[in-house]
């Protein structure tokens, strides 16, 4: 199993050390490395199928603490490895198109390093190792968001991403310390098998810390702002790190530790936060004009869906949705990248006027946005019905509302982008067509292999009537989006819901649309305000810390006499304390 992670690491090292400016060659090597990783994970997957094998290598020990490299091979971990390496191949192919102007091989080195860390993360059995890879992906994400370090945006947002996820990293570390001091082992499987042997508060504390860690990595409420800013990075990076794999690592952490979460009894909390996130991100997505940021909001929402499944202890559903989401969302990012490179903008209203109706882009885009909204026959419809399997009635009802919102905001983007019958032929290239078509086909026919997935990850699945109610809600959403954004093509902007609604007076359901428009705008504004407030309070905190520090530094005024006085005062304080208390 070690080979799996060694290969991309070696490739990254080679690219860093040897190749400097051979763009094509380093691209080819990176792709080849990813393909090899994919093959290796496929082989491992077939040989470890339905087994549960732990491989341990002793690493080192510090004063009776043993640190070991421990990997676990079972259906879940190797399925994840398969997914990661598959998406990596696709993304690297696409990067050959998107990054063709960049002459440095640094990008490919960092991407290979990311693949190494992500593969290590999914197969590691030791919490400590998990954390190390977790930090690796964090740092790679920092490096890759800030890939264009000489521009203002990426430099700032990469730091923001690092600092926000650092909150989660530290709480993860705290959880590890707590778990280690009560279980005396880092091994996930050992911890999960002896959950009942420790006091309950340990479980609750560490479980909550892990949830915070997962939320910050997966950009859930209230940490979600970093993911939106992370869209400043190159599109292949957004596609691989910030939608398909890295952010999903948050959900994956909880999936791995699901027994601990359920023992801690904090599932309800996860579900509530997930619903808040889903509603908020759909609302914010509705106001957004930047294509990639719309996709980012949708990513946040999809991650919230995974957390809903996790919160209802439905690991299979969460993994299946993770898989589905990775496929269609990376495809949508590719499309955004293709349009941005060939038409020169990410703004959906500008894109609209530039002639986007190329069938090889539009049809996959329709598939993608339909997948976001979980419309049959696409795979995500099945994934939705799997992830809602354990929902109770309230959750089901909320989910119907969320489905409506999702469909509304995703089809808004679709209808705006492809809303004008104009065509400017877009140049086809293997590097763009192949990944997009492959992923489109996969997300279309994937549902047919439901029972195959069931063999792998035990999906509890049933088409209860709520899946169809959700579907109906989604279709209403599509219809509303169609009416608002497609029919009325003139001067459309989401800020002008109200005006649009007025224009639609000759429709029979005018009242409904107006009310809906008003309502949406009201809630959307509220959320946007809250978002701003959050950002403001953070900056106020930073500001006051800065003022405090500036005051403190006046103590150190460069006068040696004052330094000596400080020593003497400290000394006298010590003596007084010692005399009084000891």
């Amino acid at each position: 199993m070690l080979y799996l992670i060694v290969i991309p690491m070696l490739i990254s090292a080679i690219l860093i050390a040897v190749l400097r400016e051979r763009r094509l060659l380093s691209w080819a090597i990176a792709v080849a490395g990813a393909v090899v990783s994919f093959i290796v994970s496929a082989l491992l997957f077939s040989s470890y199928f339905n087994k549960n094998i732990i491989e341990s290598y002793t690493w080192f020990s510090i004063s009776s603490l043993n640190f070991s490299l421990s990997f676990i091979g079972n259906n879940l971990t190797l399925f994840m490895a398969l997914l990661v390496s598959f998406i990596s191949v696709m993304v690297l192919l696409f990067a050959g198109f998107y990054m063709r102007k960049e002459r440095q091989s640094r990008f490919y080195a960092e991407m290979s390093f990311f693949i190494f860390s992500m593969l290590g993360l999914v197969i590691s059995n030791s919490l400590l190792l998990f954390f190390i890879f977790w930090e690796f992906v964090g740092i790679t994400s920092y490096l890759l968001i800030g890939f264009w370090y000489d521009r203002e945006g990426p430099a700032v947002s990469s730091k923001k991403a690092l600092l926000i996820t650092r909150v989660g990293d530290l709480s993860f570390l705290a959880a590890i310390v707590i778990l280690f001091s009560s279980f005396h082992t880092f091994s996930i499987s050992n911890i999960l098998s002896s959950l009942s042997s420790v006091p309950h508060y340990v479980i609750i504390l560490s479980g909550s810390l892990l949830v915070i860690a997962a939320f910050s990595k997966a950009a859930q409420f209230p940490f979600y702002t970093w993911l939106i800013d992370a869209m400043e990075g190159p599109t292949p990076v957004s596609s691989l790190l910030h939608s398909a794999t890295m952010v999903a690592a948050g959900a994956y952490l909880l999936i791995r530790l699901l027994p601990l979460i359920s023992a801690a009894g904090i599932e309800e909390f996860i579900v509530i936060i997930a619903f808040i996130t889903a509603v908020a991100s759909a609302m914010l997505g509705l106001k957004e004009r930047h294509f990639k940021k719309i996709l980012a909001y949708s990513t946040i929402e999809s991650l919230a869906f995974m957390f809903m499944a996790i919160g209802t202890l439905n690991a299979g559903g969460a993994v299946f949705y993770l898989f589905t989401h990775a496929i269609f969302k990376s495809m949508l990012f590719f499309i955004s990248g293709v349009l941005a490179i060939l038409l020169g903008t990410y703004d959906i209203y500008e894109l609209k006027n530039k002639g986007t109706r190329n069938s090889w882009v539009m049809i996959p885009a329709i598939i993608g946005f339909a997948s976001i909204s979980a419309i049959p026959p696409f795979m995500s419809f099945f994934a939705h019905s799997a992830l809602t399997y354990n929902f109770n009635i309230y959750e089901d009802l909320t989910f119907v509302f969320v489905s409506f919102l999702t469909a509304l905001f995703s089809f808004r983007a679709l209808f705006v982008i492809f809303g004008k019958k104009a065509k400017k032929p877009l140049k086809k290239e293997f590097n763009t067509v192949f990944p997009i078509i492959t992923l489109a086909v996969l997300s279309t026919i994937g549902g047919a292999f439901l029972y195959f997935f069931d063999d792998i990850i035990k999906i509890s699945h049933a088409f209860d009537y709520f899946s169809f109610i959700s579907l109906a809600a989604a279709l209403i959403g599509v219809f509303v989006a169609y009416e608002i954004f497609y029919k009325d093509r003139a001067k459309v902007s989401s800020e002008h819901f109200y005006n649009i609604a007025n224009k639609l007076e000759n429709y029979r359901y005018e009242k409904f649309v107006i009310a809906l428009g008003n309502c949406m705008q009201f809630i959307g504004n509220g959320i946007a305000k809250f978002d701003k407030m959050l950002a403001n309070s953070a900056s106020v905190a930073a500001e006051s810390a800065f003022v405090l520090s500036s005051k403190t530094r006046e103590i150190e005024n460069g006068d040696a006499f004052r330094y000596i006085t400080a020593v003497v005062i400290g000394l006298i304080a010590f003596i007084i304390i010692a005399v009084i208390f000891v």
Partner: protein, 100 residues
């Protein structure tokens, strides 16, 4: 025979005088002189305690201390000479290039 506690009282007073001297004057030389007072207090402590415990170790400790402090004083005074030549003053408050 003078009781041990008298010596301790004496050295405590010397120590306090030394500390006061250190924080009341800004000239480098007065710092070293005040420090010497504290060192003397320490020496008295060593010797009186050696006497009290009938243990000659204390005397040797006192001698070692004495020698070591002489070295330190020499270094300090040498530096002060350079300092006064460069700045024309002995006040260590004159420094302020590095701060904050």
């Amino acid at each position: 025979m003078i009781p041990e506690s008298y010596f301790l009282l004496l050295t405590t007073i010397l120590f306090a005088i030394g500390l006061y001297g250190i924080i009341s004057r800004r000239e480098g030389i007065s710092i070293i002189i005040s420090s010497e007072i504290i060192v003397n207090a320490a020496l008295i402590n060593f010797i009186s305690a050696a006497n009290f415990y009938s243990n000659l170790n204390g005397v040797s400790y006192a001698l070692i201390t004495l020698i070591m402090v002489v070295f330190e004083t020499v270094v300090f005074i040498a530096l002060m000479v350079v300092f006064s030549r460069r700045t024309g003053s002995l006040s260590i408050s004159k420094l302020g290039r590095y701060k904050g």
